[in-house]
Symmetry: C2
Subunit: 185 residues, 2 copies
Amino acid sequence: MQKLRVFESISIDGYFTDAHGDMSWAHAGAADTEYGAWVAGNASSGRGTLLFGRKTYEQMVAFWPTPQAAQQLPEVAKGMNAAKKVVATRTLKPTWQNTTALQGSLVEAVKALKAGAGGDITVLGSGSVAAQLGEAGLVDEYQFVVVPIALGAGRTVFSGAKKLKLVEQRAFRVSGNVVVTYAAA
Amino acid sequence: MQKLRVFESISIDGYFTDAHGDMSWAHAGAADTEYGAWVAGNASSGRGTLLFGRKTYEQMVAFWPTPQAAQQLPEVAKGMNAAKKVVATRTLKPTWQNTTALQGSLVEAVKALKAGAGGDITVLGSGSVAAQLGEAGLVDEYQFVVVPIALGAGRTVFSGAKKLKLVEQRAFRVSGNVVVTYAAA
C-alpha cells in the first residue's frame, strides 16, 4: 500500500491560502538556504505521485514550466516538471508534462492509486482534496511548514476534528519556518 | 515598559477554542510529565499580571479556585489563584482573589499597565482581547502550544495579517505538543 501525504505551507492561524487564494506569503520571507535545501531535497526525491485539485493545478502549471521558475528555483522546477502528477478534475485536459486527470470519484481513484505501484502520493495545496481525503481516512501523514505570519482569514485543509500524532519537528532559523510532521492517530 | 505576551493552546488548524467555545481538547492528550513541568514552571513563576476577557475569566474562575483544580493540578492552581489578574469587562464584578476589572477602554488601560510597574502581562485564551491588542500593536510576544489535533472550526486570535519572528520552538514527545514563540516583527 502506498502512503498518502498532505504537504502544506500554513500560517500561524492555520490557513494554506489567504482569503483571496494567494499563497505567495509562504515564500515571501528572508532567503533561507538551509530551508531551500530541504525543499529542493523534497522536490528532487523524484519518486511517487503529486496530487492536485484543479485550482492548485492551475496555479502550479502557470509557474513551474516557465523560464522564470527555471531561473529562480531550478532544482524545485526540475523536480516539479519531471514528477508524475494527477489532477482531480472532471473538466480540465492537463497540458503539463507527466500529468493525467483522475477518473471517477476522488476517493475511489485515490484508493486505487494507494493500492497501485506508483509510489507514495503527495497532496500539495488543494485544500478541498485534502479535506475530502482526510474525511475518508485516506491520509497517512500531514506535513506542515508553519510560516511566521498570521493571515486573519483564509482556507484550512481540515473540514472536521481529527487527532494526530507528532512524528517530527524542525525549525529553520533564518526564515523562522517550523516544519511539523504528523501521522493520522 | 512591561512586556505583553499572548499565550494560547491552539489546534493545528489555528483555533484556540472549538466552534462551541470548548478548550478541553487542549488537555485531553496523554499525560506528559515533561510538558506538565514546563506548564507548572510558567504558572508558578509568580510575577506579572494575567489579563482575561470576560468569557475566559468566567471559564477560569469556574475551575481554578475549586478543590478539583487543587487536586488535579496543584502547582498550576496555586499559581493561577495567587497571580495578579485583570479582566476586561464593563459589567462583571470579579470575585476571584487578586482580580480587578479593567477601567475604561481596553487599549488605553493596557497601555497604562505596560507603562506601570506591575510586571509583564500575559493574555490567556481571550481571543477578542488578543485580537484587539494585536491590532493596536501592543503585543510583544505570542507563545502558542500547538496541540496535535485538528478541530475543523473554531475561533482564532488574529483578526488581520501580521508578520512575526520565530524566537524559539520546542517539542514535547509524549503529548506531541509543539511550543512556538514569536516576537512581533
